[in-house]
């Protein structure tokens, strides 16, 4: 029982950073930006979260700084990809490289360490205990007592689905991706919509980073995003940007990640490490089958 709850909790916390970044990515996806910089934005967010939390002695400032940091990356993306019309793919690759180098360099310059900075002075983001939910048998342990960001993430999923499919901004956002000249001709600047989508992506990736470095663990380590941004990209593409689908894929990924660790009793760890990626392939398989059915 304990292991199952553990697995579920592991799934939730494993899914959260991927989900947040992927939701950011879904805004840019709909706006027609080929954005692969989630990895770098998340990593920058994680670094600035620790920086803010440590210097201001406040997790809230940590979150604020994470968002600011990640937004700076988004602004660089905007400067190059939107304003200077640089290839989005190159911009993304370069930004990821930049984020990795810059966070490591700053960690060395500011904290005088390499590798990881962990310090009791870093204030973690608190867990939220919801008295009512906590009383529910079995589920109580899962519904209550999670990290604040996890509850925020749930809200973000709902809000994203609402914004994208129900609001004026959403209609314009999707229009920018489907057919930018049409949107431009309708009197709405598609470049502006792309900029906004990147800003939203920056904010959400900042949150994802904050969860990584102040939520799940309380430290910053080099390259601590460890490929999660790429997984979130795969999630977005896999379900064509649908926020609910993204939530599902992220949970699947979080689950298989934990499952992989659990399966190490039965097979070599190299194979268990493949589990999430194989699961993604399988998910893609089912998605393609479904898409084909829909088409036929």
């Amino acid at each position: 029982m304990n292991i199952i709850t553990g697995l579920i909790n592991g799934m939730i916390s494993g899914a959260t950073p991927i989900l947040l970044a992927a939701l950011g990515g879904t805004f840019t996806f709909y706006a027609g930006v080929f954005n692969i910089a989630m990895e770098g934005m998340m990593l920058t967010g994680a670094f600035f979260a620790v920086l803010g939390s440590y210097y201001f002695d406040s997790w809230l400032m940590g979150i604020v700084c994470a968002i600011i940091g990640s937004l700076m990356m988004a602004l660089i993306f905007i400067l190059f990809a939107v304003t200077l019309k640089t290839d989005e793919f190159v911009t993304g690759i370069a930004l990821n490289l930049f984020a990795l180098g810059a966070t490591t360099y700053m960690m060395r310059q500011i904290f005088n360490v390499k590798g990881a900075f962990s310090n009791p002075g870093i204030v973690p983001i608190p867990r939220i205990h919801i008295p009512l939910l906590a009383k529910i048998p079995i589920l109580g342990n899962i519904l209550s007592g999670q990290n604040l960001i996890i509850y925020i993430t749930v809200l973000v999923v709902i809000l994203s689905a609402f914004i994208i499919f129900k609001t004026r901004f959403g209609l314009r956002l999707r229009a920018a991706g489907y057919n930018a000249p049409s949107l431009d001709s309708s009197g709405v600047s598609s470049a502006k919509i792309r900029i906004w989508s990147l800003i939203i992506c920056g904010v959400l990736c900042g949150l994802a980073g904050a969860f990584l470095s102040l939520g799940y663990v309380t430290l910053f380590s080099e390259n601590m995003s460890a490929g999660r941004g790429w997984i979130s990209l795969a999630a977005v593409i896999l379900v064509n940007g649908n926020p609910w689908g993204i939530a599902l894929i992220s949970l699947l990924f979080g689950f298989t990640d934990g499952l992989g660790l659990l399966l190490q009793q039965y097979m070599p760890s190299q194979f268990t490490s493949m589990v999430p990626y194989v699961a993604t392939l399988i998910a893609l398989y089912f998605y393609s089958i479904q898409a084909r059915k829909r088409k036929a």
Partner: protein, 513 residues
């Protein structure tokens, strides 16, 4: 009448050095319908896009009601009451009709949420007001090009703009729909709207507009009162020489049968019958035209013949070879094909002219390759391209330049030349003159007749009835996936065909009873 818009010495150069608009000075009055005519590439669209803020002019000034304006983007133009419908349809195919119409001016509630109810009501009201036949909840992807054009126009009407710019709005409408639109435009004019209107159809222009501006090669040639000019004069101003409007068709002597489709039926993924029991026979030296409103099965017919969609029922034959199940390469030994969409199906616009010219030849003509087809014969391909350049009088700079650097008319010439030289017994032409100017159309028609004289069988799909009457020997009318009439051209007229296109066979209703 008072002058509303004044464009003074507008110059627009497309990087690096295409002078699209060359020092044009023009004025448009409040409450007039003002047509702009000119050959392809004359700069009509560009001039209008400059006014609409979609392109930015390099030199010159624009005045709106006496005030100097310089719109940075269409948003600003719309805010000043100027709206534009584009030549190429600019709608979001994934969105419904009403979503497309309200996009950019959506009614919302306090939360920024789109007020669906109100939006659909507003749109429906406009549709009713103008008596357009449109389902507001249909996806644009699923509606015909003509319907899409109406959506474009509705988009403007919805915004209550006072200046409407329409770039070739009638190109895809049926003869029956055009008067309807014209009446609407007249009504708008009478309410004080200004309508700027681009068209290649000189007759339309003459009936509809108050004044006409003629452009040629980026320059304005003249602005004339519609009542004081005629078709021949206009054409002469446009082209710079006299153009004859005559029927080119001659009585042809039909030989043996080349092409046949028998009992072709196509049912799409959504179980809709898109083609039903199609039978077409074409003999050598015969041009058979297919008339019909777009979306009545032309697309599926072309795709079936070309092998883009599988044929499950019926058969397709050329020269008694059964091509029903053949792959595309095999079909291409018998079929030449000119598509209606140059950029999408007819060419790779970013590839060089040379590379576009070689297509299909490189597989069918052994002279294009060496070493058993492994290596390309560059020399031969170059010679061949030169041949096309001369034979079809293509104006090109260098054959290694990208295909898109050619003007529209020249692009079409290259494609026609390529397909013509394939020397196949059967030729499929899908709207080969869409968007071309008078001069180019004339040339394309000559080419088609030349093919006929080489005893090929030609299937010509066209939305332009004048074109069909000019060169086709027989006209088949396609309506809702069925061929509802097969008429020798000299035994029918535009009115009859136009009626059949819209209503189908007169006794259709009886048959289904």
């Amino acid at each position: 009448m008072q002058i509303l818009i004044e464009m003074k010495e507008i110059i627009k150069v497309f990087p690096p050095n295409v002078i699209a608009v060359d020092k044009v000075t023009a004025d448009f009055r409040k409450g007039e319908i003002h047509a702009i005519v000119g050959e392809n590439g004359a700069g009509k669209s560009t001039l209008m896009k400059v006014l609409y803020g979609l392109e930015h002019h390099n030199q010159g000034e624009i005045y709106l009601a006496g005030h100097r304006v310089n719109f940075q983007d269409p948003g600003e133009a719309i805010a000043h009451g100027i709206g534009m419908v584009h030549q190429e349809i600019l709608l979001i195919s994934q969105y419904t009709v009403w979503e497309n119409i309200v996009l950019g001016a959506e009614p919302v509630n306090f939360m920024g949420m789109i007020d669906r109810q109100r939006a659909r009501q507003l749109v429906q009201k406009k549709i009713d007001e103008f008596q357009f036949n449109l389902n507001i909840d249909a996806k644009v992807d699923d509606i015909s090009v003509a319907a899409a054009q109406k959506v474009e126009i509705l988009k403007l009407l919805y915004r209550n703009v006072s200046v409407l710019i329409l770039d070739e709005p009638t190109a895809v409408l049926t003869p029956q729909e055009i008067p309807q639109l014209f009446n609407e435009l007249r009504r708008l004019r009478d309410h004080g709207h200004t309508i700027l209107f681009i068209s290649h159809h000189l007759e339309e222009v003459l009936t509809l507009s108050d004044r006409i501006t003629v452009m040629r090669k980026g320059k304005k040639i003249a602005t004339v009162q519609a009542s004081e000019t005629n078709k021949t004069d206009l054409a002469q101003m446009m082209v710079g020489r006299t153009v004859l409007f005559t029927t080119l068709r001659e009585k042809s002597t039909a030989g043996k049968q080349i092409f046949s489709i028998e009992n072709l039926t196509y049912i799409d993924g959504a179980q809709h019958k898109r083609l039903e029991n199609i039978n077409i026979k074409i003999h050598e030296g015969e041009i058979v035209g297919i008339a019909g409103v777009e979306g009545n099965g032309q697309f599926e017919l072309v795709n079936s013949i070309m092998g883009l969609i599988p044929t499950k029922e019926g058969s397709i034959r050329v020269n008694d070879v059964n091509l029903t199940k053949a792959d595309i390469l095999e079909r291409r030994q018998y079929i030449s094909f000119v598509s209606q969409n140059r950029g999408k199906m007819g060419a790779a616009v970013k590839a060089s002219i040379l590379e576009n010219v070689m297509m299909t030849h490189h597989r069918l003509n052994p002279q294009f390759t060496r070493w058993k087809g492994l290596l390309l014969n560059d020399q031969y391909a170059r010679k061949f391209t030169e041949q096309i350049e001369q034979q079809f009088s293509v104006v090109m700079d260098q054959m290694d330049n990208p295909f898109r650097s050619l003007s529209g008319g020249n692009q079409q010439k290259v494609i026609l030349g390529r397909e013509l030289l394939l020397s196949t017994p059967f030729v499929l032409l899908d709207q080969p003159t869409r968007g071309l100017d008078v001069g180019s159309i004339e040339y394309v028609h000559e080419l088609i007749l030349e093919m006929r004289d080489q005893n090929r069988a030609i299937l010509l799909i066209s939305a332009d009835l004048e074109e069909l009457f000019r060169i086709a020997d027989r006209i088949l009318v396609l309506h809702r996936g069925k061929i509802v009439a097969d008429l020798p051209t000299d035994q029918t007229d535009i009115e009859e065909v136009g009626y059949l296109m819209l209503e189908g066979k007169e006794n259709d209703a009886k048959e289904t009873d």
